[in-house]
């Protein structure tokens, strides 16, 4: 989850194109990294409740680094309305070693 043993969120290299997923209150939001500038990361909304897909927004780098990385193929398939063969394609990948 990008959270160290001391509980502090660590920074991860967030390169362009990386897809991040945030699970909150039983729902999830998916974002694609557009650019990382210091403490702020600009992302494109792939899917999030109430937000238009394709719109961009800024997140803190700490919040972005603490998200899960998502399976890009699955996200694209969902975006195009294709039902994936497996729902286990989105996986929790520790972003920090």
């Amino acid at each position: 989850m990008g959270v160290s043993q001391t509980g502090r969120v660590q920074q991860a290299p967030l390169s362009r194109g990386v897809v991040l997923r945030r699970d909150v209150l039983g729902g999830s939001g998916t974002y694609r990294v557009l650019a990382a500038r210091g403490a702020v990361v600009e992302v494109e909304v792939v899917e999030a409740p109430g937000l238009a897909p394709g719109s961009s927004l800024r997140l803190t780098a700490a919040a972005a680094a603490a998200m899960l990385t998502a399976n890009v193929d699955l996200v694209d398939a969902q975006r195009q309305g294709v039902r994936p063969a497996s729902t286990r394609g989105v996986r929790a990948v520790p972003r920090i070693g």
Binding site: R22, V24, L25, G27, A48, P49, L51
Partner: protein, 308 residues
């Protein structure tokens, strides 16, 4: 609030009609009885089962003039707000977001999701200041205080409101009441909370099961007793203690705390725990009826100067 007795009677009648029970009910001064609430409330929306309509639903259908405000202190919550704001019950008439100096698109996202949202910039420091700013400008008869980080589920709001409509002054969430739980607490934090809760119960004659949980709702007339403007980490404790000292009728609502992204180290927890302990001792030593200068609500809060 001459309206309130009528509201309470209607809510009680509605609750009786639906066979619902109260939950963890007691006066903050002296315990009466502890009952437990029924199954969790399902949020309004497409996924809501037909049988999930509650006394609050029935009440608001009958008395649409009752206004409920939600106050959300927020610091860099752009990724969480879509999940929080879209789960607010339909009867919420006003949302006040108190921005604590976010560097991300918290405010932009909030406005995109809810164009009628009121956005304030807190005019001081600390969570207590942010809450005081939000409480002071909220216009609802009932004010709900909710965290914007996704740890508090807005779908639980109707249960808090129901408790107020049933006649209580202050409804506080509890992760440790039957039916409540936390996905975001460590053993050290649990032990600290337990110890501090016991201390407050001993010193102030309360029966709090969870001192350090912020999810709560109250009638607007309770505001003078809830201020903790200068407080930071100890804000929840101070509010709960001051509510008890004021002799308000308190009810605990079983609540589920969801996991948040950022955590605190146990070292920080110990330091903050000591700060809370200090606040409890000072509050105990303070003479009844005196109000610390740092806790007064602003007459003209950040709504004007800080409003974005």
């Amino acid at each position: 609030m001459s309206l309130e007795p009528t509201l309470a009677r209607r809510a009680a009648a509605a609750a009786e009609a639906t066979g619902e029970k109260g939950c963890g009910v007691w006066s903050a001064r002296r315990a009466h009885a502890v009952e437990h609430v029924g199954p969790p409330y399902h949020p309004s929306g497409a996924s809501q089962p037909a049988q999930a309509r509650t006394a609050a639903d029935q009440f608001f259908a009958a008395a649409p003039g009752t206004r409920v405000s939600v106050v959300l202190p927020a610091l860099n919550e752009a990724a969480n707000l879509p999940h929080v704001l879209t789960r607010l019950p339909g009867f919420v008439h006003e949302v006040v977001l108190v921005d604590r100096g976010s560097i991300d698109d918290t405010v932009t996202v909030a406005r995109a999701l809810r164009p009628d949202i009121r956005v304030l910039l807190q005019d001081g420091r600390g969570k207590g200041n942010a809450l005081s700013c939000g409480f002071a400008v909220a216009t609802g008869d009932i004010i709900v205080r909710l965290d914007a980080d996704g740890s508090h589920d807005p779908a639980e709001i109707p249960r808090f409101v129901e408790a107020l409509l049933a006649g209580h002054d202050f409804a506080k969430g509890s992760r440790f009441a039957p039916g409540g739980r936390s996905a975001d607490i460590t053993a050290v934090r649990w032990l600290g909370n337990r110890t501090l809760s016991s201390l407050v119960n001993l010193l102030f004659g309360t029966e709090y099961s969870d001192l350090r949980y912020g999810y709560s709702a109250f009638w607007r007339r309770c505001l003078p007793h809830l201020s903790a403007r200068g407080a930071a980490f100890e804000v929840e404790t101070l509010i709960n203690v001051r509510v008890a000292r004021a002799g308000l009728q308190v009810v605990e609502i079983a609540s589920i705390e969801h996991r948040r992204l950022s955590g605190k180290s146990d070292l920080r927890v110990v330091r903050d725990g000591l700060r809370v302990l200090g606040a409890i001792v000072i509050e105990r030593l303070r003479r009844a009826g005196t109000e610390p200068a740092s806790s007064r609500l602003h007459e003209n809060p950040g709504d004007q100067q800080g409003r974005r």
